[in-house]
């Protein structure tokens, strides 16, 4: 039982503890059992504490033994070996300078928010649902931060996306949250598609999805990419799109305010703190690609810059606490992306961690804003300094205000220039197909089914039952 065994063991514990939590809470729901709130809270607490301790232990061992790269192999989940067809889904986790801090951060923030939620959601109907989704989210975060292969990362990434969308739609009796949850889900799927394409291309280029193989032998961040050429740029660009979707960067920023529909704790940890940084984490993970392709670097810088400026402008006009914080987060995520683009990987990592904790605290304390303000006003001895006096002239300042007020028209533009043509094309195909089939079958052209909203409620009487 030497050092490698302990590394392997502890590494597995880190992943297994949230996985066990998901299994327990999920099975319980599946079997229709009811746990006391306190039982669920205790389970959650122990899973987080065990995971946190194990990851701290791994960190301690890495520091003691000076190891900078600890791979933990779990084996292949799927392996298809046939002639001419070679597919495998390789589960592998890596502990290094990037993943360990991020994992610890995930555990700490999720732990705090779990404790917060267990009293905040006390007696709520959705208590157990919340904690199940919370467990899925935690597992997703841990898996994606520790992922050693791109397919493992994708797996965790999907869990995070799924749980986030469902948590946004937590209050499913009101239409707003459900609609917004769906919208977020759509944007996630879009960025997932980019991610999947990138993963396929990487497999194609390197023959495997392992980051070590792709990014060279050195431990993070010193690895050098083993692949080269223009394909790196395209892979990188796809990954950038994936990251942008996940982190709500321009042009996907429209989902950020929508994500605030859930209960305060989930908005705090998921969108304000962890989930929003997952995109930048992905960029950090594949950072060696940036070193190979300067064009890609410029794209990353540009993306970061645009998002940061956008966030900074838009957050200026927000009049409610959660929106203001959401866009403020976006500003910082943009800056972190710029730091990554500039090659300041350590600074980006520190910035990410600091920003995540600070934002969690601010979001959890969001309802106190009014009281804090009163305290400040009492301390200062007068009203807080008024914001810039009224904007009247020049016209560009008004335009800027309008831009911020309309949140940069991002959602409207997506709807108008992407979604609408897309839908229209498919409507066109649909009508072609109907004409086709009617011509072939000789039947009259069927009208497309009306949307459910257009259908009046059925009002036929109870049928005769014999």
């Amino acid at each position: 039982m030497g050092v490698p065994f302990w590394f392997h063991f502890l590494g597995l514990v880190v992943v297994a503890s949230p996985a066990m939590l998901v299994a327990l809470l999920g099975l319980k729901t599946l079997l229709g059992l009811r746990f006391f709130e306190s039982t669920q809270a205790a389970l959650t607490r122990s899973a987080v504490v065990i995971g946190l301790l194990a990851s701290l232990a791994v960190l301690a061992m890495m520091l003691i033994f000076g190891t900078r790269h600890v791979p933990v192999e779990v084996g292949n989940w799927v392996l298809i070996e046939e002639t001419g067809l070679h597919f495998f889904f390789h589960l592998k986790f890596v502990f290094d300078r990037l993943s360990v801090p991020f994992t610890i951060l995930s555990f700490v923030l999720c732990g705090v928010v779990g404790a917060f939620a267990s009293s905040y959601l006390h007696r709520d109907d959705g208590y157990s649902r919340f904690f199940l989704l919370y467990a899925v989210f935690l597992l997703g975060m841990v898996v994606s931060s520790l992922a050693g292969t791109i397919e493992t990362l994708f797996f965790g990434w999907e869990l995070v996306g799924l749980s986030s969308a469902l948590l946004v739609a937590y209050f499913h009796t009101r239409p707003g949250p459900v609609r917004n949850g769906l919208r977020i889900w759509t944007i996630y799927r879009f960025s997932d598609a980019a991610f999947l394409l990138a993963a396929l291309m990487l497999h194609h280029l390197a023959g495997a999805g392992e980051f070590d193989r792709l990014m060279g032998s050195g431990a993070w961040p010193e690895g050098t990419a083993t692949v080269a050429g223009s394909s790196v740029f395209w892979v990188g660009l796809l990954l950038l799109i994936a990251a942008a979707g996940k982190s709500g960067m321009v042009p996907f920023s429209g989902w950020l305010p929508r994500a605030m529909e859930g209960p305060t704790p989930s908005s705090a940890v998921f969108y304000g703190a962890l989930s929003i940084h997952l995109g930048t984490y992905l960029l950090l993970r594949v950072s060696p690609l940036l070193d190979v392709s300067p064009t890609l670097r410029i794209c990353v810088l540009a993306m970061g810059f645009i998002s940061a400026v956008y966030g900074a402008i838009v957050s200026r006009v927000q009049t409610d606490v959660k929106n203001a914080l959401a866009f403020a987060s976006l500003t910082q995520v943009g800056i972190i992306t710029m730091e990554i683009g500039a090659g300041l990987y350590y600074i980006a990592l520190i910035h990410m961690i600091g920003h995540a904790t600070l934002r969690t605290l601010q979001l959890l304390r969001a309802p106190s804003v009014l009281k804090d303000r009163q305290m400040l006003e009492n301390a200062i001895g007068g009203r807080l300094p008024a914001p810039d006096s009224e904007i009247t002239e020049p016209r560009w300042r008004r335009s800027l205000y309008r831009f911020a007020h309309e949140r940069g028209f991002l959602d409207a533009m997506l709807d108008e220039y992407i979604v609408r043509p897309f839908v229209q094309i498919f409507r066109f195909f649909d009508s072609c197909e109907r004409r086709w089939t009617s011509w072939l079958s000789g039947a009259p052209v069927e009208q497309p089914d009306p949307s459910p909203a257009e259908t009046p409620a059925p009002c036929n009487d109870i049928q005769e039952v014999t």
């Binding site: 707003g176 006009v317 008024a386 008004r398 909203a453 109870i462």
Partner: protein, 1070 residues
């Protein structure tokens, strides 16, 4: 008596003349009516502003008036910082309660009562009894209850069955499913009694033998079950009985003509929504919420809305007019439209008229459409109206006329959205008006309420009543009609109303019994031992608290701890209506009921010795405050955020500490924060030197005469006019509440201090009453205070149950022992109080000790994750106005407001009672009714769940980031509340009460309209009378004994639910 009865009946009459109530009447004909059918109605270009200016002014003022009328229906909650409880349906208060809730359901879409299912749960649990239901039904029906319906049952029996058994109902599709997928038509309902089952089967078999069975319409039924004539299994017979019953019911309903006219919605959005499923409010509200929030913002956003000072419409025009770029499709027509409005200088009112015409709203429907339109976003509209009306409540008020502009914008957006939808739907050739007309026609053709639903109800009732089939088959047409009409008449709302009355009776009856018992009991004791009471020793100490229901338990425990103390209840501002500014505060805040505008100003001063320290600390606070503010602010900006982000990891410490160790954190904060607080010794600047009151130096305070007025008034209210009544130590105890992360904190504080903390009022009163010059003045008015009576101000925090005392330095040495003793008692009482409160918190085991309970409530107040720092007024249901000596010892379960009033010191005109009740009835009823409505419908009347609340514009809360402002109380606050109207029990005569009802319209309206229940206990003959239908009726009290308990804790231990009344023995004096 009769004379008064008629007088009251007269007052009740004009219920339909409520001025601010647009009555909604459905249109009966086609909708809408374009003026000429071939007129091209492109909404943007063809509408011109009204020609003559005279006409337009008249129109403008008409629209203004309509908007004002509609505004009365908007929620009247102001900025959340100052949360004042009030009747949610205040606008409908002129109507009797039951009419108002139904009108409310129509107008606001809120539930009038708890759901029938909930009432059934109460019925099963025994909280509502059949007896009570029957009593209420009898009262409600009177003679008519004994009438037989179609010869089958009496009306009362029929209705009772419909109450007792939940009749399944639902949409046609739902019933279809029930019939097809369950064995409803094969097996009896499980709640059909054995005897009824036999009756039903027997009746069915009789029918089979009868000639009626040969009727061809029953042919299929007859052929499948004919074999039963020769006998068959019981299940087969059951099946037959039900199949026959079902067919009979269907036939009976089918032939009985009953049609209800459908109402087509007046509001264009509603019409389009129900006809085409398109909801323009989704588009419109998204825009409008952002706009209103920016307009109303009290300083949260860094950039204010441009041209805010010019008004909402102007700001909106400046924002959107003349803009080429507009990706949002439905908003594309808007820029030109706004440009036109700006160019032609069209006023908001004129624009409203234009839009209404473009939307095809007929002139007679304007009121209703305007009302419904505003109500669709009632939170924001209401807030605009509030800031417009009472600008002093806000830092940045809005100019008058804003609501009208809001409406104009809402209609402009609605028009744009609907026009875009009309185009989208069927190309450019369909105009908006055309679509609306088509939609109305489409709705007309929709079928009416299905007869199957009727038949199904009847089918279930027949089972429950056990109506034999042969008798039903013999019913003729008129009898069927009668039966159907009867069942129709007892609608869901009617059933709920009866349930509600029975629900209240189930509380009121025991409450009145308990109070009558206590009253007689006490009176007997007093008469038996007149001698003893005359010689009774002075009380150990006296304490006056607010009348608040949360102080009931505190007082009770105090009396249990020290049987020789006396407690009093008075409205928590203690007659000191003032603007107050603390030593560490920047602004004056009114500390008095919200309806009063205080004239006086009082300020807390730091002792002269501490001036220097105070200045340094104030400066330090100022610097730290500035630094804190700029950190908070900059952390949201671009560059500041980088710095904040890099050092952000440091936030882990406060984050973990505040969430995981709230109690420890707050202790640390207090220890290290003490050097920031004002110095420990402060005093109130209470005496005025200048002639008139004002906020500046000389004007601060009261003159001696005014102080004497205050003191006399309160002592009279408390019935303390004799020298021998006073103890050596008289504590005045204000109250308030503190909790973290709670925008609604103000709702937890003292209602009599406008949602603020009432400590300073108690402190001020004590200082006034201690002043020997004031004492001399009040002695002249006949109240001579003993020289050794010392008044002490205190403050009770109802959330963490702490009690602090003011100005202890002024306590004479002679009183130290008295104070120490009293403080010990208070210490024990507050622990017990915390213990009693903890029984309601599910997260606390019922086995905690009082000390643990106290620690728990302290932690609760400091926990940022706590959604229920305390349960506030939840469960309130009773208000007792009278001397404490008889209500003392009653366990009232924190459900009662207790106001002290001594009828023996009152004058002929009952002027003391009048002034007590003028405050107590409206305030308590306001609290009670707000709880009622928030509980029965927490989505429409309440603020929904607290979990997604998001503070917007520093004025209120939204759900998520784009919703209406939520008013009322949130779900977590009212979850344990039983929505009962408050019962006032007043120790006075019937005549006095009737005269007060006449003299104070607010009281008369509430009592006559049955918004509250009223009962009096006559001090002379000790009888209790209940006010019903405009007159007092004797309360039937048969001398029921109350159970007794050794202590409060004995009674409530290990119980979480509402408890019955009992007599706590320890609480008895002597």
């Amino acid at each position: 008596m009769a004379g008064i009865g008629t007088l009251i009946a007269y007052q009740l009459k004009p219920k339909n003349s409520a001025p601010s109530l647009p009555v909604s009447l459905g249109c009966r004909h086609g909708w809408p009516r374009p003026r000429t059918s071939d007129q091209p109605v492109n909404t943007v270009s063809t509408l011109t502003s009204h020609s003559t200016s005279v006409e337009s002014t008249a129109l403008s003022s008409q629209i203004k008036q309509l908007v004002e009328e509609a505004a009365h229906l908007l929620p009247s909650q102001g900025p959340i910082e100052v949360f004042v409880h009030h009747n949610t349906l205040h606008a409908l208060e002129d109507l009797p309660f039951h009419e108002a809730v139904i009108r409310g359901a129509k107008q606001f879409g809120g539930q009038p009562y708890l759901s029938e299912q909930t009432f059934h749960k109460y019925l099963e649990a025994g909280r509502i009894t059949l007896d009570d239901l029957q009593t209420v039904l009898r009262q409600d029906l009177g003679e008519a209850g004994q009438q037989r319906i179609a010869g089958l049952s009496t009306r009362e029996e029929l209705r009772l069955s419909m109450l007792q058994h939940l009749i399944q109902a639902g949409s046609a599709a739902e019933l279809q499913w029930i019939i097809a997928e369950t064995d409803t038509l094969k097996r009896f309902r499980t709640d059909v009694a054995e005897s009824e089952r036999e009756q039903l089967i027997e009746g069915a078999l009789n029918w089979l033998q009868s000639p009626a069975a040969a009727d061809p319409q029953f042919a299929s039924l007859f052929s499948s079950y004919e074999s039963l004539k020769r006998g068959g299994s019981s299940s087969k017979r059951e099946e037959f009985a039900l199949a026959l019953l079902w067919q009979l019911c269907r036939n009976g309903v089918k032939t009985s003509a009953g049609s209800s006219a459908t109402q087509c919605p007046l509001r264009p959005r509603d019409l389009v929504h129900s006809a085409y499923g398109f909801d323009s409010d989704r588009d419109v509200h998204g825009e409008l919420i952002r706009l209103s929030s920016a307009y109303l913002d009290q300083g949260y956003a860094d950039w204010p809305l441009p041209d805010r000072s010019k008004g909402l419409l102007a700001a909106f025009i400046e924002l959107h007019a003349d803009r080429k770029f507009q990706p949002t499709r439905w908003l594309r027509t808007l820029a030109a439209e706004l440009e036109r409005i700006r160019h032609q200088k069209i006023s908001a009112e004129a624009s409203v008229v234009e839009s209404l015409e473009a939307l095809g709203v007929a002139e007679e429907n304007r009121v209703e459409v305007i009302t419904q339109t505003l109500l669709s976003l009632r939170g924001w509209a209401g807030m605009i109206w509030q800031l417009e009306q009472s600008p002093r409540n806000a830092v940045r008020p809005v100019p008058a006329g804003s609501l009208c502009e809001f409406l104009a914008i809402q209609l402009l957006l609605e028009k744009a959205s609907l026009t875009a939808f009309a185009e989208e739907r069927s190309g450019r050739n369909t105009s908006l008006l055309q679509m609306l007309t088509d939609g109305a026609a489409k709705l007309e053709t929709r079928c009416r309420e299905s007869q199957g639903q009727h038949a199904f109800s009847l089918f279930q009732i027949a089972q429950i009543r056990g109506w034999p089939a042969d008798e039903m088959a013999a019913l003729d047409r008129t009898q069927w009609d009668e039966l159907n009409a009867e069942i129709d008449a007892f609608t869901l709302t009617e059933r709920q109303r009866i349930f509600q009355e029975a629900f209240e009776l189930g509380f009121r009856q025991p409450a009145l019994n308990a109070l009558s018992f206590a009253f007689r009991n006490r009176q007997q004791e007093t008469t038996e031992s007149v001698e003893a009471s005359a010689k009774r020793a002075r009380p150990a100490f006296q304490i006056t608290t607010c009348i608040d229901d949360r102080e009931e338990s505190f007082r009770r425990h105090l009396e249990e701890v020290h049987p020789h103390c006396e407690t009093y209840g008075a409205a928590g501002f203690f007659a000191v209506a003032m603007n107050y500014r603390g030593a560490a505060e920047s602004f004056y805040k009114p500390l008095c009921p919200a309806v009063v505008t205080p004239q006086h100003f009082v300020q807390e001063d730091v002792g002269y010795t501490f001036q220097g320290v105070h200045k340094t600390r104030a400066e330090l606070r100022r610097r730290l405050g500035r630094a804190g503010h700029s950190f908070q602010w900059r952390s949201r900006t671009l560059l500041g955020g980088i710095a904040a982000g890099i050092v952000g990891s440091l936030a882990t410490a406060p984050l973990v500490a505040q969430v995981l160790f709230p109690h420890l954190t707050s202790r640390l904060q207090r220890r290290f924060g003490s050097f920031l607080q004002p110095p420990p010794v402060t005093t109130l600047q209470l005496e005025r030197y200048a002639e008139t009151p004002g906020p500046e130096n000389g004007g601060i305070g009261y003159s001696l005469d005014e102080m004497a007025d205050v003191v006399v008034r309160l002592l009279e209210d408390l019935g303390l006019t004799q020298t021998e009544q006073f103890s050596r130590l008289f504590i005045m105890c204000g109250h308030g509440s503190s909790s973290l992360n709670n925008p609604h904190e103000s709702a937890y504080c003292c209602g009599a201090c406008a949602g603020k903390r009432g400590g300073p009022n108690a402190r001020a009163f004590a200082m006034m009453a201690n002043d020997w010059r004031v004492r001399r003045l009040i002695a002249e008015r006949g109240i001579e205070l003993p020289e050794d009576t010392f008044f002490l101000g205190a403050y009770h925090n109802t959330c963490d149950d702490s009690v602090v005392f003011y100005d202890l330095d002024r306590l004479p040495a002679s009183h130290h022992a008295d104070f120490d003793a009293a403080r010990n008692d208070i210490e024990t009482a507050r622990q017990r109080n915390a213990h009693e409160r903890c029984r309601r918190f599910e997260s606390v085991p019922t086995t905690v000790t009082p000390l643990e309970a106290l620690r728990h409530v302290e932690a609760r107040a400091q926990d940022i994750a706590q959604a229920r720092p305390e349960y506030n007024h939840a469960t309130n249901a009773l208000c007792v106005v009278g001397r404490r000596d008889w209500s003392r010892g009653l366990y009232l379960d924190r459900r009662a407001f207790l106001t002290t009033y001594d009828p023996s010191v009152d004058d002929e005109q009952h002027s003391i009672l009048l002034r007590i009740l003028s405050a107590a009835i409206p305030v308590c009823a306001g609290i009670n009714l707000e709880y009622y409505f928030s509980k029965v419908d927490h989505t429409v009347y309440g603020a929904g769940s607290k979990l997604p609340h998001n503070l917007a514009a520093l004025l209120g809360v939204m759900e998520g980031t784009s919703s209406d402002l939520r008013t009322g109380l949130y779900q977590q606050m009212v979850e344990i509340h039983e929505p009962l109207r408050m019962t006032f029990v007043i120790e006075t005569t019937r005549e006095a009460m009737l005269s007060i009802m006449q003299r104070v319209p607010a009281i008369g309206r509430l009592c006559l309209g049955e918004w509250v229940h009223l009962a009096v206990i006559e001090p002379a003959d000790r009888n209790c009378f209940v006010f019903r239908n405009g007159q007092f009726e004797p309360h039937a009290f048969a001398g029921e004994q109350l159970p007794t308990a050794k202590s409060s804790a004995d009674w409530y231990r290990h119980q979480r639910h509402d408890l019955p009344f009992c007599l706590v023995k320890e609480g008895k004096t002597n």
